[in-house]
Symmetry: C2
């Protein structure tokens, strides 16, 4: 109960607040008061606010990247020799996220939202941290993608990967809000899993799209 209680409560509170409001817009006082711990606890246990941000990411990204490695292993072992298809690679990502031990039902959407924020909010320290901490699974994902789309030039592939990342990070980072809008407008409830089920075919189709357009608009 002693240390880990305070540490976990800070992480829990920070995770939710960061996901709701972003990093700069969330103060340590908000976090500590939500977590019902003393203000100084963050600096005592983590050292700094930036270190707390890293810890929040590490807490879910480390298990996720482990699960992901397993999924990739499985993927490669199943398709003996032949390259896994694009759909299956993308699906492995989604499935790994869904399979992860969740603290609660909002876990996945917080997870997604944070990932989106990591890409969008231009926090240099975070990007550096993530790059050097999780370069391995990321590199492996890139390698798989390359094998699954041999018809693309390096440049085309590069841009289309960015498009995929964007669609994913953006959608997931506002998944809660988007789900809410859809519910009030059309009256349909949606889970994060369903979003993923719609996103994967969209991305796969985009990656396999015919050539780039002429610079001049279609006549």
């Amino acid at each position: 109960m002693a240390q880990s209680d305070t540490v976990d409560r800070i992480l829990d509170a920070a995770e939710v607040l960061f996901a709701e409001r972003g990093f700069s817009e969330t103060s340590l006082r908000m976090i500590t008061s939500k977590a019902k711990v003393n203000l100084a606890a963050v600096n005592y246990h983590f050292g700094s606010k930036n270190a707390l941000i890293h810890a929040v990411f590490a807490r879910f990204l480390t298990p996720y990247s482990a699960t992901l490695e397993e999924s990739f292993d499985e993927l490669e072992s199943k398709s003996e020799g032949r390259v896994p298809t694009l759909d299956r690679i993308l699906w492995a990502l989604a499935e790994s996220a869904a399979r992860m031990p969740q603290r609660n039902e909002r876990g996945i959407s917080i997870f997604m939202r944070l990932l989106g924020l990591a890409y969008t909010q231009s926090q240099g320290h975070l990007r550096k941290f993530l790059e050097q901490e999780y370069s391995e699974p990321f590199g492996r994902f890139m390698r798989l993608l390359k094998e699954a789309t041999p018809e693309l030039s390096a440049v085309d592939r590069y841009w289309r990967i960015q498009f995929m990342l964007g669609a994913t990070a953006f959608t997931m980072s506002s998944s809660d809000a988007l789900i809410g809008i859809l519910e009030t407008k059309i009256g349909v409830e949606t889970s994060v899993q369903e979003i993923a089920a719609r996103l994967v075919p969209f991305l796969a189709a985009g990656m396999k799209a015919p050539d780039k357009m002429q610079i001049t608009p279609p006549a």
Copy 2:
């Protein structure tokens, strides 16, 4: 020279800094020192920092939405009666951006980056401002999209539009950085127009993708 000079210098500096660092991370002191005007000038001319943010958006979004309306008019008049295709609708957006009078060659990428930030950074006041100021062209775009994808259910269309927005906002919001990475890694120079030329087919293919995937992963 008198008023407009100071006002424009503030807008120019704010635009660049907001695009580089985001809104919360950019202070009025950074802006005024870059613009070489007195700190109080922002509050004198605009009233508040939030109002300055609105002014920055209005300065490029108002001409853009006007250009866009023309493009849409043209699009609808050309295809007498028949519905414009998805590619052409999307291309109208890109072309309107390219056709706009630019203050300099970095104009488009700043424009894109700001649009991306508007979506990503959860600034309530900005979203409200944009919604009530530019609801008309946005609504028209949505209507065109609906006509161009009659095969989609309302729910499918809703999500796929989000995916498109995400890919676009995200890519464009970091277009500068992404172009730089590509140049150092593969040694290829890229213009924003070329990104658009790659993005449009990607999006169109995604929108026209076959049905959503089963919730259970492909066996």
